[in-house]
């Protein structure tokens, strides 16, 4: 029977599965989403697959193997709209730490037979390989933002995911600033909103898992962190974590060591 419902595909590249799990974690919305779209490819959730074209593809994970570097082009060809979800897909993920090292050394540390391992020297964002229609940030993404992205797509509008900093979310929440009041180093001023200022709400500094906000002043924030006693090697690590290969964070980390 022909169906007019838009066809959804969920694709995985190098990742922890957490961002696509966010869809299954939408316990209240999942059956409604399944009613509004035809879930044509989502191997984590179903055996059935439909070949052909997809109206909306959600892509999780980074490009880290030669096989995946080719496969992403096939996914792009078959997708009308391609949305990348999460820090791996939008910035290369934590596995992009290899971009600052020698991947052959990495393989030798982990594997007895590095010659069995097919891998690329870098882990990179999907947008470095194919055209991407929208990027949803976060490690992991917010499930509320994911529902917003799917709803926006169904309504034919742009998703509302504000690109301002985590600081704004703290102010909206009425949090006391952990950096000003407690001297806790915090990446909130440079980090993209979306999590709801979680870490400061738990008396902890933001560690930047949503990546850079739209216009981050990273050198100014570094100066503030230095004033709080953060040393150079720590600064390099602070800027080089789950979004290490996002350009603004990469440039800042490179100012503090190789």
């Amino acid at each position: 029977m022909a169906t007019k419902k838009p066809r959804l595909g969920v694709w995985k590249f190098a990742s922890c599965d957490g961002c696509q799990l966010s869809l299954l974690d939408c316990e209240d919305e999942l059956l409604a989403v399944a009613g509004a779209v035809d879930i044509a490819y989502f191997p984590e959730a179903t055996r059935s697959t439909v070949s052909g074209r997809y109206d909306l593809s959600l892509v999780e994970g980074s490009i880290a193997t030669p096989h995946d570097a080719a496969r992403i082009h096939e996914v792009r060809r078959r997708s009308r709209t391609l949305v990348t979800i999460g820090a791996c897909a939008t910035a290369g993920g934590i596995q992009a730490l290899r971009n600052f090292a020698d991947v052959r050394e990495y393989a030798a540390i982990v594997y007895a037979r590095p010659d069995y391992i097919a891998t690329l020297a870098t882990s990179t964002a999907i947008a470095e390989h194919v055209r991407v229609d929208f990027e949803l940030r976060g490690c992991p993404i917010s499930k509320h933002q994911l529902v917003e992205v799917i709803s926006a797509f169904l309504a034919g509008r742009r998703p509302v995911t504000p690109p301002h900093s985590t600081c704004v979310e703290c102010k909206l929440k009425g949090n006391v600033c952990v950096m000003v009041a407690h001297g806790t180093p915090c990446l909130g001023p440079a980090t993209h909103a979306g999590c709801g200022a979680l870490c400061p709400s738990y008396n902890r500094g933001c560690y930047g898992c949503y990546g850079p906000m739209e216009s981050p002043n990273t050198p100014a924030l570094t100066k503030q962190l230095e004033a709080l006693g953060v040393d150079q090697s720590t600064l390099r690590r602070v800027w080089r974590s789950f979004n290490a290969n996002a350009p603004a964070f990469r440039r800042e980390s490179e100012r503090h060591g190789p």
């Binding site: 989502f42 179903t46 934590i94 982990v110 738990y202």
Partner: protein
């Protein structure tokens, strides 16, 4: 039937990417190989040079389904290296967090990944059309597990509130009260789940497994205890490397584990249950008995019932912890970096998860080693396929392929973890 070939390029309803190859000659299964083509991410390499304090957040990213397990094995290993012990309410809160992850992860597997195999659907969304009440119950139960994670951990996936030494912020008693009301509903839903899955049809297949799990003197194991086996192993986590070994095969980006001198073994709910039945809460024991499970169960297809029984236990245990909870004076115990080795083994939803670290004097990681449950189960999964599938060779290709997949899904394999799974390639020769 001189030659039949069945091929599954990508096994569905598992977490991660992998495939399967079964070779049949003259009506006998000659070999069964699991291949894992999950891209390697090299966690043990890039952990070198990071601070001990960063490791719980970094290792959580190995798995989006069981991040708490990685955080727990990590913090216990780091605390071992730093010579501190976390007790009292902080220890209880860690168990409570783990209850949330067991409920969320087991519920995902029981309802969304495994039950469709028994009832003949491609997935839970198809299953919902005829089993809507069951699927809605599963989603609500899963949500309550996630509510524990969100309250204690800040969010469901990659919680932000766990640190070496304890937490960043501990909840007030009054914050936990609404959770207790939700958990009472969840406990009943878990009991209903046990009854529901106990009514499925199970292939009558058993093997003499060597089960491996933690065992603690007083409690069903989450974070602490000795590593024991059904063949008499009884060791501390720090002796793991003396008894277990990993080897690397070409078909897999996940290393295979073996017990030195004893070969393959099985970790996970079935192992925990067999080695710790008497430590389950009375209600969970009673639910198991009513479901027809003896204190010993060697049929891996029945692991779906064991997962449901463990959900009853997790709800019971969470309610006990909330009832006894007194807010600790400090959210974490103080610590000072020092050089040394640290070892940690905890019970992830899928089984034993081992971490080992060597730290420099300034707390920087010099070496890291992580052995996830699915790596340890690869050998046992292959042995199950080799032993059980031979009896199903009369089935048509499509049904046989489905049976192979179901047999693999008994283990709730998490390939993202293991490679840090699945293609079926059946060669009937």
């Amino acid at each position: 039937m001189a030659r039949r070939t069945i091929k599954v390029d990508y096994l569905a309803r598992v977490e991660g990417e992998g495939g399967l190859k079964v070779v049949v000659r003259d009506g006998m299964v000659q070999s069964a190989e699991l291949s894992i083509f999950e891209p390697p991410r090299f966690f043990e390499a890039f952990l070198r040079g990071r601070s001990f304090a960063e490791a719980p957040d970094i290792t959580a990213r190995i798995c989006g389904i069981c991040p708490v397990a990685y955080q727990m094995s990590c913090v216990y290993a780091m605390e071992d290296a730093l010579g501190i012990r976390v007790g009292g309410a902080l220890r209880d809160l860690r168990r409570l967090l783990y209850c949330g992850e067991w409920i969320e992860s087991h519920c995902l597997h029981v309802y969304m990944l495994h039950a469709p195999d028994f009832l003949g659907y491609d997935g839970a969304i198809d299953m919902a059309r005829e089993h809507g009440d069951a699927v809605r119950r599963g989603l609500e139960l899963k949500k309550i597990g996630n509510e524990i994670l969100a309250l204690l951990g800040g969010r469901e996936i990659h919680p932000i509130n766990v640190r070496v030494g304890g937490f960043y912020r501990v909840p007030h008693r009054r914050e936990l009260a609404p959770l207790a009301e939700r958990l009472k509903w969840a406990r009943q839903a878990a009991l209903d789940t046990v009854r529901w899955v106990a009514g499925f049809e199970f292939p009558d297949r058993t093997r003499d497994y060597n089960f491996v799990a933690l065992r603690h003197p007083d409690e069903y194991p989450f974070n602490e205890g000795h590593i024991v086996s059904s063949q008499g192993l009884d060791i501390a986590a720090r002796d793991y490397d003396d008894h277990f070994e990993e080897h690397h095969v070409a078909r897999s980006t996940a290393l295979h584990s073996r017990l030195r001198g004893a070969g393959n073994y099985l970790v996970g709910p079935l192992a925990r249950y067999n080695l710790n039945f008497e430590r389950l809460s009375p209600l969970a024991q009673q639910a198991a008995r009513e479901a027809g499970l003896a204190p010993s169960c060697r049929n891996p297809y029945r692991s779906i019932i064991v997962r449901a029984v463990e959900m009853v236990y997790a709800c019971d245990e969470a309610l006990r912890i909330i009832d006894a909870y007194q807010e600790p004076e400090s959210p974490a115990v103080p610590l000072t970096p020092r050089a040394g080795f640290g070892f940690g083994a905890t019970e992830a939803p899928r089984g034993l998860l081992y971490h080992r670290y060597r730290l420099n004097a300034d707390g920087i990681i010099a070496e890291a080693r992580i052995v996830p449950p699915t790596s340890q189960n690869q050998g046992s999964i292959e042995e199950d396929l080799a032993s059980y599938i031979g009896d199903f060779l009369d089935l048509p290709d499509e049904a046989l392929q489905h049976r192979c997949e179901q047999t693999v899904r008994n283990y709730d394999p998490c390939i993202s973890c293991a490679a840090h799974f699945l293609r079926l390639d059946m060669d009937r020769g």
